[in-house]
């Protein structure tokens, strides 16, 4: 594709250039309505709504019948692409401190294109008065989970016991980790339980030669993503956490994607 001014199509430009048009389309995307309803809802001036509705009608973005304006299916299609894009910007900006100056190289393009699935996530950040906030949050999830999957680049002293408990309760644990970290973890877990769990498949660890610069923990109904800073150190102060099904799906795809790449 040629990269010049025409890269952004003129019809896209026409829609995004005007805040008023975008707001009108947002309204009509929800349901067909009259000018008056749009004006009441958006509190925009009657003249600007009417003027822009005319422009939209002339270019066939909306149709008018009995004073009611309806967005055409094609406009819906285009408009929703824009809304999806807006949502992706929101995910980037809402979690700015999470992404900025962090290493995202393990997140492949398809997952970045679907970053809107993280829209309903929460950014959990430690603060001077609560420096264990990220860890305590994860601990709570581990305590109440039956099955977990994770890519863990470090072992918190609490982890062996938490994992042991999951295995004792017949839960499943699947981990991707570097050899030394694995040895550190396993030395602290009851060896009978460990051997039994490995045999019956409830403990499944994929061991790597090199550490992965990403933290991912998927519990029964939640996911947690942690990133490394650009200087190579793990950022323990921030976790992106979500119990939204879309985010869980996203996290599972990331797990499987990394697994298929490194195993």
């Amino acid at each position: 594709m040629v990269i010049n001014e025409k890269y952004i199509k003129s019809d896209m430009m026409f829609l995004v250039k005007s805040e008023i048009r975008l707001r009108i389309l947002t309204e009509l995307n929800a349901r067909p309505q009259t000018i008056k309803e749009i004006v009441d809802k958006t509190k925009m001036a009657y003249s600007s709504v009417s003027n822009n509705l005319n422009k939209l009608e002339n270019k066939n973005y909306v149709v008018k019948e009995n004073r009611i304006y309806t967005i055409t299916p094609m406009t819906k299609l285009y408009f929703n692409q824009l809304m999806d894009f807006k949502k992706s910007i929101d995910v980037i900006e809402n979690f700015d401190s999470f992404w900025y100056k962090h290493n995202i190289s393990h997140i492949n393009n398809e997952l970045i294109e679907n970053i809107t699935e993280l829209y309903k996530s929460k950014l959990i950040e430690t603060s001077p008065i609560d420096i264990y906030k990220t860890h305590n949050n994860i601990k709570k999830q581990l305590e109440s989970s039956h099955n977990i999957k994770g890519i863990v680049p470090y072992i918190h002293p609490d982890y062996p016991l938490l994992i042991e408990n999951i295995l004792k309760n017949n839960g499943k644990v699947e981990l991707i980790m570097e050899k030394d970290i694995y040895l550190g973890l396993i030395s602290q877990i009851n060896s009978d339980l460990k051997n039994r769990s490995v045999r019956n498949g409830s403990l499944n660890v994929h061991i790597l030669k090199n550490n992965l610069d990403i933290y991912l923990l998927i519990c029964d109904n939640s996911m947690n993503l942690g990133l490394f800073k650009n200087d190579g150190s793990y950022d323990q102060n921030r976790i992106l956490n979500s119990d939204n099904p879309d985010s869980l799906k996203w996290a599972n795809t990331l797990f499987e994607n990394i697994k298929s790449r490194v195993i």
Binding site: I3, E5, Y7, K9, L22, N80, L82, S88
Partner: protein, 265 residues
């Protein structure tokens, strides 16, 4: 919250989308740097714009933490990379919808559920085949030829067409077609039942699974493992047999399957 604050928030709701998409310079720089880090000369050669304009764009993007300068080279920050990836996705989707815009625009799309309508870009490699005055049944013939070699087919059939049914029965009889799933509405089902021949060859055929629905869908969709085809109705409710979209890519076949499943539900 006072009305005033609501107003203010809403006015800024699209601020970011506007910021990115209304400056071709900002967008273009992000897209150029997406592939590789570049120095000013390289960016200038690629965009064919004066240095001053480019420098202005670079400065703005740097202030917004979207790009960074390392010695003489500009590169995307992680935020910039996330954004650029999604800009490219938006533009690619926009282009792919546009490619068959004529087809989409001239037909009634209201029968396609919104979540699938939003993913129409998945049919980006679709081939558009249209009948011409010299060959009135070009679309139909292409369709028949295409389905002739497939051992299994799933079809959403919104029209009662003896011509289509006749060909399907022929394929079932000659053994090429081993499994046919047919989704039809009650009215068409009853019409088929009235003909003893059609009843015997389709409804009572063990290779055929017929699903009856009360829904009057306006989509003629066919798919199997290797391709999908779509024909639609005109906006005046008449079925259009002169234009067909064919796509052999997995993304389009997956879209078709999702559409079928959604209508089934």
């Amino acid at each position: 919250m006072s009305t005033n604050t609501i107003e203010k928030n809403q006015t800024h709701e699209f601020k970011n989308v506007k910021y990115i998409l209304t400056s071709s310079m900002r967008t273009l720089i992000l897209v150029v740097l997406y592939n590789n880090r570049r120095n000013l000369n390289e960016i200038r050669d690629e965009l064919k714009k004066p240095s001053a304009t480019i420098l202005h764009g670079l400065k703005e993007l740097e202030e917004n933490n979207l790009i960074k300068k390392d010695r003489k080279y500009y590169e995307l920050t992680s935020n910039g990379y996330l954004l650029a990836t999604n800009i490219i996705k938006l533009i690619d989707n926009w282009y792919s919808i546009e490619k068959n815009k004529y087809f989409w625009n001239s037909h009634d799309l209201s029968g396609i559920p919104e979540n699938l309508l939003n993913k129409l870009y998945l049919l980006k490699d679709a081939q558009f085949i249209s009948s011409t005055t010299s060959d009135l049944s070009n679309a139909f013939n292409t369709y028949i030829e295409l389905i002739s070699t497939s051992p299994e087919l799933t079809i959403m059939l919104p029209i009662y067409s003896e011509n289509h049914l006749k060909h399907l029965i022929r394929l079932l009889k000659n053994g090429n077609l081993k499994q046919l799933t047919l989704l039809i509405n009650t009215e068409i089902f009853q019409t088929i039942t009235k003909s003893r021949y059609l009843k015997k060859s389709l409804i009572e055929n063990e290779k055929v699974k017929i699903i009856e629905t009360d829904e009057n869908f306006k989509i003629f969709l066919t798919f199997c493992r290797d391709f999908m085809t779509l024909t639609l109705f005109f906006k005046d409710n008449h079925y259009d047999d002169s234009q067909i979209i064919i796509d052999k890519h997995q993304s389009a076949i997956k879209w078709s399957k999702d559409l079928f499943d959604t209508i089934l539900e």
